[in-house]
Amino acid sequence: MQQEPILFPGRVPTEVKTMIKSSKSMEKSVFRKMIKLALGYLQGSLTSDECETAVQNICQASKADTEETVLNVCIQYAGILTLLRSALRVNTVTTRQENLSADLSNLGLPEDFASDICKVVFGPARPDIDRQLRSTAPSLPVLTNMNWRVEVTISTSWLSRVLEPVVMLRLELNNGSSYTFQVPVAKFHHLRYAVANLLHQMEDLRTSSICKK
């Protein structure tokens, strides 16, 4: 039964083709190591030094010592990375595990390697993986920290008795910028109202679209 290819509906990338060809002679432990490394990289939980050491380990494990064999290992790793990236994009609710597994077999991947990939995609670690993937998606600056201070202005050069509260806010964003500013009480209420309104609308949106899903 030929079905619509799930992972690569267009062209299959070269590194994936190369990887599949050499997967027939690859050891299972090496394949698993590469998957582990690719996952760590995609989630952003490994530094570049850790990645390099891991790749070197993989090269030693697959007994690659000449320049050509090391290059081959790197291309295979690239293939696994692309494959995993596409596999993780797949929606686990609408796609069934058997279909993904069949698609992988159609590409030419040996059966136990295909089941490894499916274990990652449909496995229990998926919510964590998803959370990490969402945080690396393109986004505008996100508020990381907010410090505040409530002050009461006692008197000024133009009015001797003021006794009016003022809020000072410092917002720090994840792009490194920081903004310190005053918020007069009237504007503070406006801000609170806007955020409450937004939350309300967000909740409405979430409950309405989930039904469609």
């Binding site: 998606a137 907010m146 009237a186 504007k187 806007a194």
Partner: protein, 199 residues
């Protein structure tokens, strides 16, 4: 209330010599400008016309306007009651009819002027406006077919005066997903409870 400098005394003398009706008109105009926090009450053209109609020099016109503004500002600073203001003005040498005009205008406009001054703050950066956008993220290169609501909030920061337009204000754009927005709201509620405890 009034420090009688030489310059102020000159201004008062000038005012006493000017027609009461015209002083009333000036005072009304100045009070309106103070309420809307405009720094320049009259344009150059208007000052010229004023000079011509009062038959005084341009410098004298400026002095007259400054004197009136100064008196009102001092009254606002001390939040002086009209009865007390009357005493101060008479003691400073202002003629009876001009004093009556001042008292009348002050009684009408004092609250608005003081309220406006109360809101003034010295800071260069103030929250001027809050604008927002609600989006539904349906897919990305990392994860296909998701349904995540994302809010974009834009804060406009400026110095709060009417002069600050798009040239001097800064716009801060941030994004929030639902959890992040809840956190933000919790912190705002905390601040509000502190503000409430002050009352």
């Amino acid at each position: 209330m009034l420090q009688l400098t030489k310059r102020l005394q000159e201004g008062i003398a000038l005012m006493n010599n000017t027609d009461s009706g015209k002083i009333n008109g000036l005072l009304i105009r100045i009070c309106t400008a103070l309420i809307s926090n405009r720094s320049q009450v009259f344009t150059e053209e208007e000052e010229e016309k004023l000079s011509a109609s009062l038959v005084i020099t341009q410098d004298q016109t400026k002095l007259l306007i400054k004197t009136i503004i100064h008196i009102i500002q001092q009254a606002a600073h001390g939040m002086v009651r009209p009865a007390l203001l009357k005493e101060h003005l008479l003691a400073a040498g202002i003629s009876q009819d001009k004093t009556d005009i001042f008292i009348e205008q002050w009684s009408t406009n004092a609250k608005a002027i003081v309220d406006m001054l109360r809101q003034q703050c010295l800071s260069e950066k103030q929250l001027e406006d809050v604008a927002w956008d609600l989006h539904l993220k349906s897919a990305s290169s990392t994860l296909a077919r998701q349904a995540q609501p994302i809010a974009h909030v834009q804060l406009t920061l400026g110095d709060g005066t009417t002069k600050s337009s798009s040239t001097t204000s800064e716009k801060v754009l941030m994004q929030f997903n639902q959890d992040q927005l809840y956190d933000f709201y919790d912190q705002l509620e905390q601040i509000q409870s502190h503000l409430d405890s002050l009352r």
